[in-house]
């Protein structure tokens, strides 16, 4: 479970772009608060792009781009194991996937 960190330079750039292009905002009409806590809009919809068509590689191939101490979210099911780099999830936050035939949303 990730909680939002401070803005990265990319997020700040997006924020600026969003401020100049207000129509991307306000596509939803959320309540101002949920269970007493406020909802803040900080980026336009889909400024952080979820992954809808995830592609996977075997562990041997992943060794080329994964670091030993890199944090991952690991999941098992239906005889399958899958690893999702948290450094990668930082820039996508959601992966629409399936594990052993069950549709899942990996969220971070």
């Amino acid at each position: 479970m990730r909680t939002a960190g401070p803005f990265s330079p990319i997020a700040l750039a997006l924020l600026l772009a969003a401020a100049l292009a207000p129509p991307a905002w306000g596509q939803f009409a959320p309540p101002e608060t949920v269970e007493g806590a406020p909802i803040y809009t900080v980026l336009p919809v889909d400024a952080i792009p979820a992954i809808d068509d995830p592609r996977f590689v075997p562990a041997e191939e992943a060794a080329a781009f994964m670091k030993e101490n890199e944090p991952v979210l690991g999941v098992t099911g239906g005889g399958i194991a899958k690893a999702f780099s948290l450094w990668l999830l930082n820039v996508h936050e959601i992966v629409n996937d399936e594990i052993g035939g069950t549709p899942v949303a990996v969220t971070w």
């Binding site: 900080v42 592609r55 690893a83 450094w87 899942v104």
Partner: protein, 243 residues
Amino acid sequence: MYARPLHRGTPLTFGVSGMLWKDSLIMYDRQTRSLWSHVTGKAVTGPLRGTVLTVYPTAMQTTWEQWRRLHPGTLVLSKRGRLGGLEGTHDVYEDYFRSETRLGIFSTRNPDASLPGKEFVLGVSAGAARSAYPFRHLSVQPLVNDRVGAEPVVVVFAKGSATATAFSRRLGNRTLEFRELRAAGEDLQMTDAQTGSTWRALTGVAVAGKLKGERLGPVPATMAFWFAWRQIYPATAVWKPKP
């Protein structure tokens, strides 16, 4: 991590709304454009308001090195982006994770200073009950037989990779009790008191003894900062080792 429910025969697909609630992501689904909290799994507005997603319970946060040891045949999400370059090659939140004082993007107050706001906890859910297992306590006692609400659970901590995970201790009609957490080569093992069988402690699979081949059931568990867990679950229990 959640199972995606069917809507008119197709699984919902989620996107990032750009909104935050309690310092965490609000998702939307592309079919109905309802808004969902990624921490509680609940739709907070829109046609599906009130619906709660089912947690997919086997997710575990660890290091790549540790995960590959546990599951050598694992698949890995590719980092090759649409434009051909690699994405996610470093931690964009490194400074935030290192900082002891920065809590969320709006400088949230730590709601309960009995633990530092940036203390990592394993948050475990069973029904409506929640328990937090602070990493500072788990480093002192890395094997915990406990109950979360009515559910008997075992919590295991691997100090080297700062990995915590939890399983149900119910197996058929039995409730098992675990002891003797120990290194076995590069693996961590434990023994159940009832049958003396040997278990891989981070996968919950029995590898020797009477229960060989049995697998402990998962319970939803997530690694979180204390301030974040506590602001979402104010009534959470907090585990401490007995003195």
